[in-house]
Symmetry: C2
Subunit: 389 residues, 2 copies
DNA sequence: TTGTAAGCGTTATCAC
DNA sequence: GTGATAACGCTTACAA
């Protein structure tokens, strides 16, 4: 055991090359370089306070090798009960905490699933996270969450960080800006499983978890029609997202089925944001011949419209029917209640998590990409109920 | 260059001990062990598809050492522009992605801040996360979030996982069950900075970020009194949490200041949960001589009470005043609107993040534990407004 | 300016 | 049942 000639520290002495064929050492504690011209010249003093106890410390303390310690710690077979107990005791005594970093490095896996969501402000993604978290935790995985903030650039940098941190799998819902998918292809190339949910795209070979946007949208518009609304506007999302396209498609299908005239100037597709919702809403409500109902792509937009209608003295549901999408917490309580589509958020999270686990844990055999479509539910409230039915 | 005698693979050959004083190898691709009795016997075939490119691959490819590559990649000084460019080009060509795990291991830091929250269902914690996330991302840190689910056991296991993963600092809001703080003391002992927020405790030496619960509570109750309510009940949280104690204290202080009689049977302290809120709410509303106002510890509880009052035909605010705490999204819209205390959620997140950054980045010098008290705001809505004022 | 080699804390293989 | 030792991928002090 070597001690530092300057500070007498032991335990922070490291080899540092050779000087005239002699081993040279450095004390990491006081940064002093020396050779051992006179071995055993100094006495050990105390442990560095910065040092975290490692399996080697345990090994030294009870006089076994680090491999023995490792085995004991992991409950491997072929180890004598006494040795194991000694190791365990010493580990507790030295307050040993395994270093997951080293473990991950040698195992080339991290037991961590990454998740990238575009935003956090609505209740949708937090609820998805709750579901995913539950399943992953149960299976012994960690969940690392990043937020792309609806920015493509941030999303790309998030995926880079995930890659660098060697997550075992990625769950992602794309931003409304995302049109290029190279950053996702990297995952395919590296064999890192990927599951898309909610905001999916068609250009990536990976399981996708979505809801039946088309049907949901269809039933929402049908519901409006059955309540006597004729001139229904659609306030949609950006068309590069499949959710937006599907919801638009459902709208058109319902209108066509019931022989309603679709006025193209009453269909607006745009980015998700409160500001945009207000601008588009104002446009629709200020139209000379304004619609008698609006189906919005999400509740936030629908709520903006309801508030605006209130300001303008337009009566809901008599003069204007409104339907949203997602069932935010406030939707049940606003005005006469907002009719909306409830998404099974927790189940979306659980399903994506189950998918990723299956992919991560399947040995080499990558399953064929698949798509899970979960069911939504039309929640009828006052904002659209003109028929006493 | 050695190839596997069985599958001809090169690049996945690793040394594997000795056999009769001869170096033994293993092919990681086909798991075949062999020695080199006849060197150069097999020809290289192709790279393993599993292999991730490392700095060594780059080094080999352009004929320099790995240290040179490392330096080039990190833009160190003292490297010739040509070499650097060659390294950068080759890195791009080989699609090199740095291994953060290895980096972290050698640097003993992860650039990751951990955050443990008790729940996710209310908007409070998601909003705090948004704030913290923003500041940390800005500063180049990752944020790993875990959810303790209001369970002490889960919280302890979460802190263990955080420790194992060697986060650089921890942000934590305690569960309502937490009464023992040994799992936090470990962080102190290891010199890992810690910041408590919202659900803090007094037994840990660490910066705390809270709101002025006492004042907020005082002003809420005062507001009720000024609106002519006399017999005000308090539906509080578990008393081991300081938030609960402070809100109770504020309630008492306001009642005393205005000479109101405090009826102890109208003060209930209990766990946060929808079920409990219903049970306690029912108890209060069914009292023979029921209170004419209720100040609840959070909006979820207040909303349960409002719904129950509606069922029972108790008029709000005429027969019952209600005030909550936190300003959930739905609170603005429920019934006549719920009067509540708005907390600066994003700022709470930002402040905790700034604290932890300061602690993490301060060299050795640990600042004295401090407490930041952020201001709340009384949001008056219909549920408590009996005075026309 | 570049190369050499030790070290970060583990796991796992093989020898004994 | 236990001990050596290579390996995981990287940084860095020192030598060249």
């Amino acid at each position: 055991m070597i001690g530092c000639p300057k500070c007498s520290e032991v335990g922070s002495i490291m080899k540092a090359g050779y000087v005239r064929n002699k081993q040279r050492y450095v004390c990491k504690d006081c940064n002093y370089f020396f050779t051992l011209s006179d071995p055993g010249q100094v006495l050990p003093r105390k442990k560095s306070r910065r040092h975290q106890t490692t399996i080697i410390d345990i090994a030294k303390a009870i006089g076994v090798s680090n491999s023995t310690v490792s085995r004991a710690l992991h409950g491997h077979a072929d180890i004598s009960p006494e040795t194991r107990q000694a190791v365990l005791d010493m580990a507790a005594q030295l307050d040993y905490q395994p270093n997951q970093l080293a473990y991950n490095l040698v195992k080339s896996r991290t037991n961590t699933i990454g998740m990238i969501v575009p935003e956090f402000t609505n209740s949708f993604f937090p609820n998805v996270i709750i579901g995913a978290h539950e399943v992953l935790t149960e299976a012994g995985y960690n969940l690392t969450i990043m937020q792309s903030n609806e920015s493509y650039a941030v999303e790309v940098s998030n995926t880079k960080a995930m890659l660098a941190n060697r997550i075992d799998g990625l769950l992602i819902s794309l931003t409304q800006e995302t049109n290029n998918y190279d950053h996702l292809k990297v995952f395919e190339k590296r064999g890192i499983p990927l599951v898309l949910f909610n905001r999916v795209c068609d250009h990536v070979e990976a399981p996708k978890v979505v809801v039946n946007d088309f049907d949901a949208s269809f039933s929402a518009v049908e519901h409006l029609i059955l309540n006597g609304y004729e001139r229904i506007a659609h306030l949609g999302g950006p068309l590069n997202l499949r959710v937006s396209r599907e919801r638009l498609r459902g709208y058109r299908a319902a209108m066509e089925k019931y022989g309603k005239n679709i006025e193209e100037n009453m269909i607006i597709q745009g980015m998700f944001s409160q500001q945009k919702a207000r601008i588009y809403g104002k446009y629709l409500l200020d139209l000379e011949n304004r619609p008698d109902a609006i189906f919005a792509v999400n509740d936030s937009a629908a709520i903006e419209i309801m508030l605006m209608a209130l300001e303008k003295g337009i009566k809901i549901p008599d003069q204007l029917g409104v339907v949203g999408f997602s069932d935010n917490p406030e939707s049940a309580y606003i005005g006469p209640g907002l009719t909306t589509i409830r998404q099974p958020t927790a189940e979306i999270g659980k399903t994506t998590a189950k998918w990723i686990l299956q992919l991560v844990e399947s040995e080499e055999e990558v399953k064929l990409p698949n798509e899970t479509v979960l069911k939504t539910e039309l929640v009828v409230r006052g904002s659209s109920k003109r028929n006493p039915s």
